[in-house]
């Protein structure tokens, strides 16, 4: 969110030439939506504090940041792939699963330390993303495949990954070699030691991704492509290279999100990514589909919303909160908090 706050740029008017990359901004809705969002979140927090006391709200807020960090990491890749390739990747959740099991393979089966195992998982998942681009998505784009064809192929791929994993490792819940019992107290708030590491890693990576998208030429090109593929090509961007870079980022971050999720929750099953996919879509649509900074903010907001909701309702319904937000956003503001209207048409 820190990265998002200073990136709000007014959208360039449609008919003006906007070759300069900085004009192809991330939060194209301007500062207004961001301020409104912060105000709404603050108002909700205030109401909850009055009703339930500051300690409970802060404690659930901490939990929300934990889940928000892996939601955001998962959502940013989903939205980038959508923006760049107009591909709603229903296999994205299963990339998280793949990352988690690759970490399991390295960490538990081969006995590699968790840090190296996580790196291995990220690289392996990124490689899978690039492989899917080369074997499936690029040839299909070349043939002018329609939307339904592509959607169904992402679902076919999702099945192959998810049930391929189930064929190898079964449905028995697996654990990484991390300590999930030790916890730390700070200002009366408790957070698991592993959860704290998850939040720190998650936020450092999110900040790095935000900076990369904002400051580097590759990041600007990725956002430019996500904004308008045709215009980006005319501007002289090597779209093929950027597409590959997008897959490396999207899948790599998904792999990391899968490992962080497993580390925070404690166990993995072959369904974990599919179960998370609903929350990832909610985060993406909340932030405005195709908008990278929006997805980061949407992921964090969704994490907070789900955990705060447990103050009011039974915790087992917190997953349904994501669905509620998804439907509410589509009714009230289908372009998402930070999206432009044209995206939805």
């Amino acid at each position: 969110m820190a990265g998002a706050a200073d990136t709000a740029v007014e959208p360039a008017p449609r008919d003006e030439p906007r070759g300069a990359a900085p004009a192809l901004a991330g939060l194209s809705g301007g500062r207004g939506p961001l301020l409104v969002t912060v105000a709404i979140v603050a108002a909700i927090a205030l109401v909850l504090i009055v009703a339930y006391g500051i300690h409970d709200v802060a404690q659930r807020g901490v939990n929300g940041l934990v889940s928000g960090s892996y939601f955001a990491l998962g959502a940013v890749g989903l939205t980038l792939v959508y923006g760049t390739l107009r591909l709603v990747n229903f296999a994205h959740g299963d990339l998280l699963t793949f990352g988690a099991y690759m970490a399991f393979l390295a960490n538990v089966t081969w006995g590699v330390p968790i840090v190296l195992a996580t790196l291995f998982a990220v690289v392996a998942t990124a490689a899978l993303g690039v492989l899917s681009e080369r074997v499936m998505w690029r040839p299909m784009r070349g043939r002018g495949a329609g939307m339904l064809q592509l959607l169904l192929m992402t679902l076919g791929l999702a099945f192959v990954i998810r049930y391929g994993i189930q064929m190898i490792w079964g449905t028995f819940p697996r654990r990484l070699e991390v300590d999930v019992t030790d916890s730390i107290s700070f200002l009366g708030l408790r957070i698991g030691r592993t959860e704290l590491i998850v939040v720190i890693v998650g936020f450092v990576v999110l900040l790095a991704v935000g900076l990369m998208l904002r400051r580097t030429s590759l990041g600007r090109q990725m956002r430019a492509l996500s904004d308008d593929m045709g215009l980006a090509e005319v501007t002289g961007i090597d779209t093929d290279r950027v597409v590959i870079a997008t897959w490396i980022f999207a899948a790599g971050l998904a792999g990391l999100a899968g490992v962080l999720y497993t580390a925070a929750i404690g166990t993995m099953t072959p369904n974990l990514g599919f179960f998370l996919l609903l929350s990832l879509f909610a985060a993406v649509i909340l932030g405005g589909i195709g908008n990278a900074f929006g997805a980061l903010a949407g992921g964090l907001l969704l994490g907070l919303a789900q955990e705060w909701s447990t103050l009011v309702i039974d915790p087992r319904w917190k997953v349904a909160v994501g669905f509620g937000i998804l439907i509410l956003v589509l009714f009230v503001r289908p372009q998402g908090l930070f999206g432009r209207k044209e995206r939805t048409l």
């Binding site: 049930y163 649509i285 349904a320 048409l345």
Partner: protein, 320 residues
Amino acid sequence: MTPVFAVSLDALTSADFWIGVGVLAGTYTIFTLGLQLNVGFTGIINFGQAGFMAIGAYSMGILVVRAGWSLWAALPAATAIAMAAGVLIGLPSLRLRADYFAIVTIAFAEIVRYVAQNARGLTGGNQGLLGFDDQWLDVSDTILGWLPASMQDQFLLPLLIVVWVTVAILTGLLMLLQRSPWGRVLRAIREDEDAARALGKNVLAYKLQSIALAAALGAIAGYFLALNLSFLSPESFEPQFTFIGFTILILGGLANYVGVALGSLIMWTLLEATRFIDLPLAAEKVAALRFVIVGVALILLVAFRPQGLLGKRQEMVLRD
């Protein structure tokens, strides 16, 4: 060299196997007819058919078991509930681009499964819901009594007959509907939404009617699934079952109602036959193998033969 696995074909000649395949294929034909109406003839991408199937089956089960309704009153009521769910899901998302509807419907199906698993007071959760089929079993026994004595031990035979009679009636009705002015408007929407709108047609209303009918077909498939299992549990209604329907849809051919039955028969013969491949694997892994097959079949079909077996090239809705 020792064989890694062995295949026994004896089972393929047994009546049990083919009756089982027939019931499943008939059930999924009804299920996929709804997808055909939405995807093949209206051009809306319904990824939540399993959710409508679950809503229909669970509403029926809850009305009978928890509220003490007669099964025959519960069936139309549950169908109406599924149709209302279709309209509610369609209202916010059908006004938007087609991929939003796909996202919302797949999320909807997952939430329905989640509710079925967690609202234990109503649905029985993972323990499941039993005892809704007494009135059906009476009918089933009556039908069994009409059959020759040699078939009396096949207790699924009445269900097989009723499923396929229903398939025939529904397929016929849908084909008639497709030739009606209403059906022509749906096709016009599929081909060019703006043109249909320019002619004064209320596109959203037609799309909502299409999704409501598909939800009703999903619910009917749900009743047959429930009667087949005589037990409702969340894992019978997982969101991924929608995509067995899509594989059947593409296999049979888009924009072709007869192809659905053909695709379903081929698909379920293949899927059920995997039970007889004697792999050195645990049951959950063989179950996983079935879905790997579905995934690979879906990818290959969509990539290399998107018009399926009976689809028409000029109605290639896939390449819009």
